[in-house]
Amino acid sequence: MIGVDFRNPGLVERFRSTVAGFVGRARTFRSGLLIIGVLFAFIGLEAVRFGSVLHNMHVLERRRDALRLEVQNMETRIKAIRERRTALLNALARRRSNADLAAKIAAVSDLVSNSMGLTHLRAAPDGFDIEGRGTNLTDIRISLARLESSFDRPATFELRRDEMAPGAVSFHFDIANK
């Protein structure tokens, strides 16, 4: 028969200390659990924060990739636009060169004395070729000197008596572009 004699003081003391031990351990366990709980709650919060940041990062990456693609497409279009603009500017510059050429020809013909008649004037990318006829040799000499001094490139010229018109002299001035 098993029984407890409550009149035994040692037994009561042992029971009390056993209960106190249980209570103490329970308190320690609760404190530990609380600490661990708080720590893991922090870990959970951090994990949620990290997940949110990762999600945002992926969204931003997708936007950036879309932007990259758009910029690449735009660069292709811009390249084509630049090529067309260059071609347009080239065409405009070459169209404008007609006025420059006319001005240059006018300047060259102004160098020739009025008493002389220009009979032939050819302007080409390879140079100028001028022919004229006059009766006054001094005017012809002055005109040739002016023409020669206005170009800093070597020129050739030729003078000859015009057999068709007595007293007249024909000249031929040729200057080649470098």
Partner: protein, 164 residues
């Protein structure tokens, strides 16, 4: 609960926190880089949009100069221009010859200053043409001027096609 278990758990938790913070710092740095790159690309897009707006002007000028037109349309426009210039300068267009590709030989007759002015007028014509060779010859009191004109046209393959 033993002290060792609590200590280990705390240590583990701190380890996790440090790991998360480190990963978050990396992610933040990466996000900053992405945001900066996106801002740069946005600026590039804005610049590109401005260029695309200016492209309309380029295209209208290309259309105005008949650069994308067919050769037949360019010939018609060039001849109309030459007629207008000849009327304005009191000249006669005596020859208009297509010499293959995009080259034309045009001959006008009249006073020398008028023929010279006609050459200058080509710089404002509706067709982008450049006189490569010009020949003035005096005969019977008037001047005959022959212009070798190169007309420009944009090809389909390249914007520089047909440009000398």
């Amino acid at each position: 609960m033993s002290f060792a278990f609590v200590a280990l758990s705390t240590l583990f938790a701190f380890g996790c926190l440090i790991g998360f913070e480190s990963a978050l710092a990396n992610a933040d740095a990466r996000i900053t880089a992405i945001v900066l790159e996106s801002a740069t690309q946005n600026q590039a897009l804005l610049r590109g949009e401005n260029i695309e707006r200016s492209a309309r002007l380029v295209e209208s000028q290309i259309a105005g100069l008949h650069l994308s037109d067919s050769l037949q349309e360019q010939i018609a426009a060039l001849f109309a221009d030459l007629e207008a210039i000849a009327r304005r300068r009191d000249l006669r267009v005596t020859a208009f010859r297509h010499e293959g590709s995009a080259r034309f030989e045009v001959t006008v007759e009249g006073e020398y200053p008028a023929t010279l002015a006609a050459l200058a007028d080509l710089s404002t014509s509706h067709v982008a043409a450049q006189a490569s060779t010009v020949l003035f010859e005096r005969a019977n009191g008037h001047v005959r001027a022959a212009f070798s004109l190169d007309v420009f046209r944009l090809g389909e393959g390249s914007a520089h096609a047909h440009l000398p």
